[in-house]
């Protein structure tokens, strides 16, 4: 089971390593969004600083839509999804494998973006452990919901428009909780970031559970 999870993760990461789609398109996209927010808000340095957390996680959400679309495309081309199922791999293993692959890619993008907000937004890091823990947990939440909804819309004709409509509201709590945790990690607001991190974890458990229960049905029928 765990071996199968890693098998799927490894497959997705290897496809990414060879195609470099995330690296060549998603990273520049993320940095451009950050820079554009910088242009839009730079008139007031205090506003830019106060908005850093929200801008950061909003950008992650946009990036996640691209990453999930990519992850879904891998499976629907050439009937790869059917082949995975015929290979006797448990749908749960496919679910966690793909979630892990998206999470690892997103986490890499986020690390670059942390550099971006320090460089462009003058952000100062008050607590590195909180910052990194938030990135890890929030990324898991995003990937867990994204993988589930990606499989859900895989065979919908209007996939590209339906995915954001479904995914972004589902991820709204992640945006809120991760932004508050970042506010603490960046020392912007008076909040307890670790508490928000705990709520993020709760969200991650809920969504991973729903994914575990529903993914097989979606792979086979939808």
């Amino acid at each position: 089971m765990l071996a199968d999870v890693w098998l799927v993760t490894n497959k997705d990461l290897r496809i990414e390593w060879r195609s470099r789609v995330t690296f060549n398109q998603v990273v520049p996209f993320a940095l451009i969004v950050l820079v554009l927010f910088g242009f839009a808000l730079d008139t007031n340095r205090a506003v830019l600083r106060a908005a850093t957390s929200g801008v950061f996680w909003l950008t992650v959400l946009f990036v996640a839509v691209v990453a999930v679309t990519r992850s879904t495309m891998i499976e629907i081309s050439d009937g790869a999804r059917r082949a995975l199922l015929l290979g006797g791999i448990e749908p749960v293993a496919i679910y966690f494998g793909k979630t892990l692959a998206i999470a690892i890619q997103l986490f890499g993008v986020e690390l670059l973006m942390v550099g971006g907000v320090i460089f462009f937004f003058d952000a100062t890091i008050a607590s590195w452990p909180l910052l990194l823990a938030t990135c890890v947990v929030a990324t898991w939440c995003v990937a867990a919901s994204g993988t589930l909804l990606g499989a859900l819309v895989a065979n919908v004709a209007a996939r590209d428009t339906v995915l954001p409509i479904l995914l972004l509201p589902v991820l709204a709590p992640v945006l809120i909780a991760a932004s508050r945790a970042f506010d603490d990690a960046l020392g912007v607001l008076v909040v307890d970031g670790w508490v928000w991190l705990g709520l993020l974890a709760a969200f991650g458990i809920v969504n991973a559970t729903l994914g575990t229960l529903a993914y097989g049905t979606l792979l086979e029928e939808a």
Binding site: G87, G88, I89, E90, P91, V92, R180, V188, L189, V190, V191, D192, V195, W196, G198, L199, A201, A202, I205, V206, A208, T209, T212, L213, G216
Partner: protein, 181 residues
């Protein structure tokens, strides 16, 4: 990467997950989430109550936060701070008072003994509003620029002012302080 292309023995087709397993997973997850939520929600502050705001004054510093408290009737004064029209009053929660200067018009339902939620920050200075007798008078005041009224779920129509005071005191919005006119 492996170059051995010998076909592997077929894997057994995965067993159809039983409803029992699904229920177990759902229950365990629900329990974990419930524990997390119950233990954590109290810490996700939307606002500080007056007593907490005073306690955390050092760690809050000059950052913005949201304050909740019950306005004490006799302290409410409309006046000027510099050239700006302000409302000055003291709020209380759980026996601790905070002096507030609100810049701008007060909320429509702003009145004594009905809690308010205010956005703003600490200022290390006694409020300079003519006619305002601050209750806390501790050398600080809360400068507010956004006011919401937090009304309760009582919908009553009687001259129940005294009763409301008693309930407000019970809920922590202490009104025991008697203003000296």
């Amino acid at each position: 990467m492996t170059t051995d292309l010998t076909p592997l023995p077929p894997r057994p087709r995965y067993a159809r997950r039983t409803a029992g397993l699904a229920v177990t997973v759902a229950l365990v997850a629900t329990a974990a989430v419930a524990v997390l939520v119950v233990n954590l929600v109290g810490g996700t502050l939307y606002f500080y109550n007056a007593d907490e705001a005073v306690e955390e004054r050092a760690s809050i510093g000059d950052r913005r936060f949201t304050l909740q408290g019950t306005p004490i009737g006799c302290s409410i004064v409309e006046g000027l701070s510099g050239n700006e029209s302000v409302v000055a009053f003291s709020v209380m929660f759980a026996g601790t008072a905070v002096d507030v200067v609100h810049f701008g018009d007060p909320a429509e339902l702003f009145q004594a003994d009905v809690s308010v939620v205010l956005d703003g920050g600490w200022v290390e200075q006694s409020p300079q509003v003519a006619g305002f007798a601050p209750l806390a008078n501790d050398g600080w005041h809360f400068a507010s620029d956004r006011m919401r009224v937090k009304h309760d779920n009582d919908y009553i129509n009687r001259e129940g002012y005294d009763e409301r005071l008693a309930r407000s005191a019970e809920a922590g919005g202490s009104t025991e302080v008697v203003c000296e006119a």
